[in-house]
Each structure stands twice: as C-alpha cells, then as structure tokens.
C-alpha cells in the first residue's frame, strides 16, 4: 500500500474513495491502509448514483446498518481533464482486483510511452 502511495505521488494522482459508511466508521478504519486518500461518506448514495454505480441486485449490507444499497465495487482512473481512462469493476463482490492491477493502469494510461 505504501508502495502504491509512492506511485500516486510520483504522478500527482489524487485518491478519492466513496462508500456508504458513516464518517465515524471511515475515520476509525483509516489507520489500517495509510493511503492519503480523501474518503467520502455517501450515505444517501448521491455520488454513487451520479456515477450510475448503485448495485441493482440483492442488497447485502453491513449488519445493523440500514443503508438502502451499496455501490458496485469500482475503481476509476480519471485524467486531469476529468475524463475516465480506465475502469475496474467487480461482477461479484467476492472478487477484488489487487494493487498490481491499479499499478498497471497507472503505467498504461498516465506514463508517457
């Protein structure tokens, strides 16, 4: 994870995360990953819906949390003009891409050939 942060810094890439977790929960877990990310709390799914990423299938959310739905796990690489260069998306929530996939995307789409 620290290695990935160095790669982001090298290229001036900002990192933004979006989840429906309450701000307090996000803050508590921040120590674990140590990324310099801006972490958004999207309780009403406004951001998720703006991107069209609300999961339409069976909702299985955190126990005790009455959030309406969750986003489909998705990572986007966006250039400085706001254009989406690359998307990685899960077809089921148990399969996640590792950091090497993000690394490859940075190298493919942001580094000069």
């Amino acid at each position: 994870m620290a290695e990935l942060q160095r790669e982001f810094d090298k290229r001036g890439v900002q990192v933004l995360t979006v989840s429906t977790d309450k701000p307090g929960v996000i803050q508590k877990k921040r120590g674990v990953h140590r990324l310099k990310a801006r972490m958004l709390s999207d309780r009403n799914l406004a951001v998720t819906d703006a991107f069209g990423l609300r999961n339409q299938l069976i909702h299985s959310g955190p126990p005790g949390d009455d959030v309406e739905a969750l986003p489909v796990p998705t990572t986007l690489l966006v250039n400085s003009d706001g254009k989406v260069l690359w998307i990685d998306q899960a077809e089921n929530y148990q399969r996640r891409s590792g950091p090497e996939v993000v690394m490859a995307a940075l190298q493919t789409h942001l580094d000069a050939p």
């Binding site: 977790d21 877990k29 690489l77």
Partner: protein
C-alpha cells in the same frame, strides 16, 4: 438390534467429524484465497466442497449419531451452507447508464470522513483514482 444401532451410530458419529473436517478445510482454502485477493472466477469447486460438508453433516444425522457426533455435524451444516449462500448473493450489477471509459465524470459533492465538504472541482488539474467500495465491514 442393539449392535446394529451401535454400529450405525458409530458410522453417523464418524461422518459428523468428517463433515466438519471438510468444512474446516474448505474454509481454510477459501480464506487463503481471500487474503491473496485471488478468489477464482469459477467458484464451483468451492461451492461443491462446502455443500459436501453440509450434506455429510445431514447424512450423519440421517444415519444416526451419538451426541458428540451431532455437534460437529451441526457446525458442518451451518458452515457448509453459509458460503454457497454468500456466493449466491454476491453478483453485482450497475444501473442502466453507468459511467464508462471516455465519459467525463459528473460534478458531485459529499462530506468526507472528517465532516468536511468535498467538491469535485477540488480535483481540477490532477488525475484522480476514485474507488467505490462496499465499506469497512
């Protein structure tokens, strides 16, 4: 009759433990894949292993087990059915018009984890990696 019942109970009890062993092995392998962020695309074998554990647990009861064979059998049934259930509910599907490569990201605003307001204009001029995820649970 008594000997036959005793033999059956022996078999059933053993089956209870076998069921649990299969369940534990399957969970161990599954956990290892999860930690390596490497759950395979085809999870059929995992589902089969977990269901096998559950079926063996049920068989243990059907054949007849001593009480201490019933305990692992119950665990095997519970564990063996839980994972196939989570796999069944895991598929994801986006809305009709999701963001696609080539699109410009929408304008948006939200609170961050410190309660501070974030606006998408704050990003202007930098490339950004945006990660939507299911939360920390």
């Amino acid at each position: 009759m008594k000997t036959m019942t005793a033999n059956r109970k022996k078999i059933g009890t053993t089956l209870g433990f076998v069921a649990l062993a299969v369940a534990i092995l399957a969970v161990a392998l599954w956990s290892r894949q999860i930690n390596q962020v490497a759950i395979p695309e085809d999870r059929t074998l995992f589902v089969a292993a977990f269901l096998a554990a559950a079926v063996l647990g049920v068989a243990a009861f059907a054949i007849g087990t001593r009480w201490f064979g019933g305990v692992p059998a119950i665990f095997a049934i519970a564990v063996g059915s839980f994972l196939p259930f989570t796999i069944a509910i895991s598929p994801q599907q986006v809305a009709e018009n999701p963001i696609r490569v080539g699109d410009t990201i929408p304008i948006f605003t939200a609170l961050d984890d410190t309660g501070e307001r974030f606006r998408s204009d704050d990003l202007a001029g930098s490339p950004v990696l945006i990660k939507f995820f299911r939360g920390h649970w």
